[in-house]
């Protein structure tokens, strides 16, 4: 695992990917973006919507990256080759959101959180769940500098605490307070239907929402 992140690869250029790429670039990271197709198809979009971000083939973007953000539709995840991400720190920004996106058989079980299922499939990677719970349209406006009283929080859940801390630093640099959750299982609170999904909250509001939900369940 990298001790710190300099280069980020964003996989997926739908609603969410370009927003994450832009925020990472603003925070001073080197950022590449890729889809399942040729980078040529992304050139114009990258140039206009995220100038400074490099469109690459997925394999090249991932190979050069210290951290890979997965922001593809979850129902496309089963088509992604796990070998592509072997040995990488992977941030799972995807959501299993059946009422909005349809059901996906791989994720239908209730026992595991969606990121645990992602981790099982990406067995050669270290998966951290983050950047999934604030709506893409609120992500950029929600950023605040370190020390702001109204700074908002983003959950970071992982089984590997070193890797989670590395991601936590990225979240902090992007402009959010990382709220650390000590396992992918605990990251369930970040999922659709959980107490903080779709909400833009300060750290204390975030922690209170999680606590209240835990007491009620």
């Amino acid at each position: 695992m990298p001790l710190s992140v300099q280069r980020i690869a964003v996989l997926g250029a739908g609603h969410v990917g370009p927003v994450i790429a832009r925020m990472a670039l603003d925070a001073g990271f080197e950022v590449a973006i890729a889809t399942s197709g040729s980078p040529e198809n992304l050139d114009l979009v990258t140039q206009v919507v995220m100038p400074g971000v490099e469109a690459r083939w997925a394999a090249d973007a991932v190979a050069a990256a210290d951290m890979v953000v997965l922001s593809i539709p979850l129902h496309r995840f089963s088509a992604l080759d796990p070998a592509l991400l072997a040995g990488k720190l992977v941030v799972d920004a995807m959501n299993y959101w059946a009422p909005a996106d349809g059901a996906a058989p791989m994720f239908q079980g209730k026992e595991l959180s969606s990121s645990e299922i992602v981790q099982r499939r990406l067995s050669q990677s270290t998966v951290i769940k983050s950047l999934n719970q604030i709506a893409y349209q609120d992500l950029e406006d929600g950023r605040r500098p370190v020390g702001s009283l109204d700074r908002h929080a983003i959950g970071v859940a992982g089984d590997d605490s070193n890797a989670a801390n590395v991601v936590g630093e990225v979240i902090d640099r992007i402009g959010y307070d990382p709220v650390m959750l000590d396992s992918l299982r605990a990251g369930r609170v970040l999922q659709p239907g959980g107490p903080v999904f779709g909400a833009v909250l300060t750290r204390s509001e975030f922690e209170r929402a999680i606590h209240t939900a835990a007491v009620q369940s």
């Binding site: 206009v48 996906a104 349209q137 609120d138 406006d141 999904f197 779709g198």
Partner: protein, 367 residues
């Protein structure tokens, strides 16, 4: 673009636009309540929407759009039938969808219905293709939301072929092929205007440009200004595909009343109710009064208040986005017919002239 040449080109922050300013209204057929807050029948709500469209023309609104929905809160699955009733009672106002959920419909039928509407209205029909935030049509017609992208891509492709006129030959994976098939009614004066509604995916913007469809930015949450790169992307993509510039529109929800206080008071409980209901189904957090106020403010996507407040916000956002059209999605389930008719009247008689004035001021050469 014969309709645009008479208009003076207008410079905006987003670039030059050669299209006339269009100010419209959209509804989703929001289920109306009477003055005692009792739900009206679906049938009465639909009849009221016809009256709303007729009033919109009388007070000077340019476009009346109806968005397809399939729920008790929005009982409006056959928007084109209602649009036809409005077209038969009006002369000038353009009528169209906002949006047509093409992925769960048949492009041939959509073309036929809107080509028929275009005939009834003497060329005033428009269609906005998209998903909307409505997902109810998918289980209803036996489609899987997981195929949404493929369905939309393929059906937009067929729709573009149909608009060209003449016998159609087309092959796809998700709909039976067409072999030299005549599709009627023919349009009288070329294809009716077709838009693609885009919510936040830049690749959808490029797709609209690829097919030569106009761009409708659906801005329903967060800062409208963040869509500014999309206008640039659209114009550059059109250029790349060797096409002439096309109109850019904005669709956002709102409510107009005599004062800011009255508008907020009428809208907030209805908004809270419907978003809370959606939150439960879709599993996201319930909005707070604070998050609502943020959306109503200058950084947000809700256009709620007095005519002056709403006009200022529309003008500012059209400038920022380099757009030439704004469609206010009015109404909310539970609002009364009186409140909606007042909204339409104020929008036509106060908001529209004020937006025109503000944009004319901002583009005066001696400024």
């Amino acid at each position: 673009m014969t309709t645009s040449t008479a208009e003076t080109p207008r410079e905006t922050a987003g670039g030059s636009t050669r299209f006339p300013l269009v100010l419209g209204l959209d509804t989703f057929g929001d289920h109306e309540h009477d003055a005692e807050d009792r739900p009206l029948s679906h049938a009465q709500t639909i009849r009221n929407v016809v009256e709303e469209g007729v009033l919109a023309e009388q007070v000077g609104v340019d476009f009346f759009g109806i968005g397809e929905h399939h729920t008790d809160d929005f009982p409006m699955p056959a928007a084109d039938v209602v649009l036809a009733a409005i077209a038969a009672r009006t002369k000038r106002i353009h009528v169209g969808s906002a949006v047509t959920v093409l992925s769960s419909d048949d492009p041939v039928r959509v073309f036929q219905r809107f080509s028929t509407l275009n005939a009834i209205s003497n060329g005033r029909a428009e269609v906005v293709l998209g998903r909307g935030s409505s997902i109810d049509s998918f289980p209803l017609f036996g489609y899987d939301l997981a195929n949404y992208e493929e369905l939309f891509e393929e059906k937009v492709n067929l729709f573009a072929e149909l608009l060209k006129g003449g016998p159609v030959t087309w092959h796809g994976n998700l709909r039976p092929s067409l072999n030299n098939q005549d599709v009627v009614p023919y349009t009288e004066a070329g294809p009716f205007r077709t838009w693609i509604g885009v919510g936040g995916s830049p690749q959808s913007v490029v797709r609209a440009a690829h097919y030569g469809f106009s761009l409708m930015l659906a801005i329903i949450g967060g800062s409208p200004a963040r869509f500014r790169p999309f206008s640039r992307l659209f114009l550059q993509a059109l250029e790349k595909f060797g096409r002439e510039p096309l109109p850019i529109g904005v669709h956002s929800p709102g409510h107009v009343a005599e004062t800011d206080e009255k508008a907020l008071e009428e809208f907030w409980p209805r908004w809270l109710h419907i978003i809370t209901k959606m939150s439960k189904v879709r599993g996201f957090a319930i909005p707070t009064l604070e998050s609502f106020r943020y959306e109503v403010g200058p950084q947000g996507a809700l256009f709620i208040g007095s005519p002056e407040t709403v006009a200022q916000k529309i003008a500012a956002n059209l400038m920022t986005l380099g757009a030439n059209r704004f469609d206010l999605k009015f109404g909310m389930p539970g609002l009364s017919p009186d409140s909606l008719m007042r909204n339409i009247e104020l929008y036509g008689t106060k908001v529209i002239p004020r937006v025109r004035e503000l944009l004319a001021e901002s583009t005066r050469p001696d400024d």
